[in-house]
């Protein structure tokens, strides 16, 4: 069977790859958006923190004997704590300054962290086994669906939507949205805004690390795994609109799929299609598809 002259097997195969990539784009751009909204900082360390999540899973397994399911819980918390230390000691000094300073500082941290890991572990990648419960897959008739990939898509979608719900529909989220608009007034109502900022950074970093754990069984654990990915994620964020929660989720998954289909219909463009879309969006809607023009 074919669609537009392409075998359905190949088409669904690319759709699946697109959704997987999209899941990572969504998780990472969601974290970036949450951080940017409240801290006013473009967190270039995000890719390195994603990598740290994967390494944390690797360490937990090889040093402490804690497997994938533990890593899913412990690695994001551990990496979030390093993020919180970073925020407390350095980032908090930059909130009043131009975005450029935060961007430069976090970019510097990314280079340092990636350099340290590469020095220690080389750049060839360390294997991380798939959890036994999710090995194998099922034949859906029109395609073969590996269980682990299905899990990554469903789980990251659930994490994204839960995050959206908390921010847009709960009381805690209303503090966050209000503090994004006017932190000093929210603080004058009795809310400890500096602490909220710190925890929000920790949460965004934790999302990146969570994506890293999810990625480890698929892409192996590699000091530079975040370096290339983060460039694409920034394009996703620009397209969705920096600071928009739903925008990050929809754009993340959507662009993953677009990229996958491009691989089917015009493979030459598959690595650049997102950047082309970014350029077009920047020209037509500089605030992004979901961004509020300010």
């Amino acid at each position: 069977m074919t669609i537009f002259g392409v075998p359905t097997q190949a088409l669904f195969g690319q759709l699946l790859i697109g959704l997987i990539n999209g899941a990572f784009y969504a998780l990472l751009s969601l974290g970036l958006s949450v951080i940017f909204g409240l801290l006013n900082i473009i967190n270039f360390t995000h890719g390195a923190q994603y990598m740290m999540g994967a390494f944390a899973a690797y360490f937990l397994l090889n040093w402490a004997g804690l497997g994938y399911w533990w890593a899913l819980l412990v690695a994001p918390v551990a990496v979030a704590i390093t993020g919180i230390a970073l925020e407390r000691t350095t980032l908090k000094r930059l909130y009043q300054l131009d975005h450029l300073y935060g961007l430069l500082l976090t970019f510097g941290f990314a280079l340092i962290i990636q350099g340290l890991f590469r020095h220690q572990y080389g750049s060839s990648g360390l294997p991380y086994a798939m959890p036994a419960e999710l090995a194998g897959g099922r034949n859906l008739g029109f395609m073969f669906l590996p269980n682990y990939r299905a899990w990554v898509i469903v789980f990251s979608l659930a994490v994204c939507l839960t995050t959206w719900y908390v921010i847009e529909r709960t009381r805690l989220g209303s503090y966050l949205r209000a503090a994004t608009e006017n932190p000093s007034l929210v603080q004058a109502f009795g809310i400890n805004v500096p602490r909220m900022i710190t925890l929000t950074y920790g949460f965004g970093v934790g999302l990146a690390a969570l994506a890293g754990v999810l990625a480890a069984p698929i892409y192996q654990v590699n000091p530079l795994m975040g370096a290339d990915l983060i460039i694409v994620v920034f394009a996703v964020v620009v397209i969705g609109g920096l600071g928009s929660i739903m925008g990050s989720i929809v754009t993340g998954f959507g662009l993953g799929v677009v990229e996958g289909f491009t691989k089917v219909f015009y493979p030459e463009a598959s690595n650049t299609v997102i950047f082309v879309i970014m350029a077009v969006v920047l020209l037509l809607r500089p605030a992004g598809l979901f961004g509020r023009a300010s």
Binding site: R177, A178, E181, S184, V186, Q187, A188, F189, G190, P194
Partner: protein, 234 residues
């Protein structure tokens, strides 16, 4: 025993390097409504923000029931029972009317219930699901006042709540302020409009160039009209 609820003494404040308050002195007794009058730029807003801790570079003394507030961050000050309604109203666009109303956390028991607030400002109840800044200016002012009545704070700092509003809404806010006084709230009110101030306040402090230069009891306002016109340049 200190008899003032709030005693401000020799309060100085800065925005960056710019020295704006030069030793402000005044006090408020529990249950009073007191105004700060003064020309544009006299330092009224800065005084409220310094009491509240929003302007963080400040010196001198701000005592609430004898307890020193200088040096505390604004979230701690709020928890002691002060609430602030800013000049620009500070309604959040990304929150619904209801979320705006429920945003400030309860700091102590004894605040007005949500129903009592709807009774004061019936307009709000009809627009709960709307975005905060889709309200009219007057409705936003009602929301800005309403939300701090819920928290249990007993000392309210209101910065020009009548600014730019239609006469009927100014009257409604006046009625609200008199009602709050009956309920025992203490109010520090910044006003440009002293005719309005005279209908709600017990005493008036006059500010000039970052200092309090005079205090006029409301009963003596008529007798001091010439002086007041002079101060305010009206």
């Amino acid at each position: 025993m200190p008899e003032s609820l709030l005693a401000v003494h020799d309060l100085h404040a800065w925005y960056g390097e710019s020295h704006v308050l030069h030793g402000v002195d005044f006090d408020i007794r529990s249950g009073e409504t007191v105004t700060l009058l003064g020309r544009n730029g006299a330092g009224k807003t800065t005084t409220l923000k310094s009491v509240m801790g929003i302007v963080s570079r400040r010196r001198g003394s701000v005592r609430l029931e004898g307890r020193e507030l200088i040096g505390l961050p604004s979230n701690r000050i709020a928890r002691l029972g002060l609430a602030f309604c800013p000049e620009e109203r500070g309604i959040f666009a990304s929150l619904t009317v209801e979320e705006n109303l429920r945003l400030p956390p309860t700091v102590r028991a004894g605040g007005l219930g949500v129903d009592a607030i709807y009774e004061l400002f019936p307009n709000l109840k009809e627009r709960l699901r709307a975005g905060g800044t889709t309200l009219s200016g007057g409705e936003q002012q009602m929301l800005a006042i309403g939300r701090i009545l819920r928290t249990g704070a007993r000392l309210l700092l209101l910065d020009e709540p009548t600014e730019g509003l239609a006469p009927v809404i100014v009257q409604q806010i006046g009625a609200t302020l008199r009602r709050l006084k009956q309920e025992g709230f203490t109010v520090l009110l910044v006003e440009q409009n002293f005719r309005f101030a005279a209908t709600v306040a017990d005493r008036h402090y006059v500010m000039e160039h970052g200092r309090v230069v005079d205090m006029i009891p409301n009963a003596e306002l008529e007798a001091n009209m010439t002086k007041l016109h002079d101060y305010l340049g009206v």
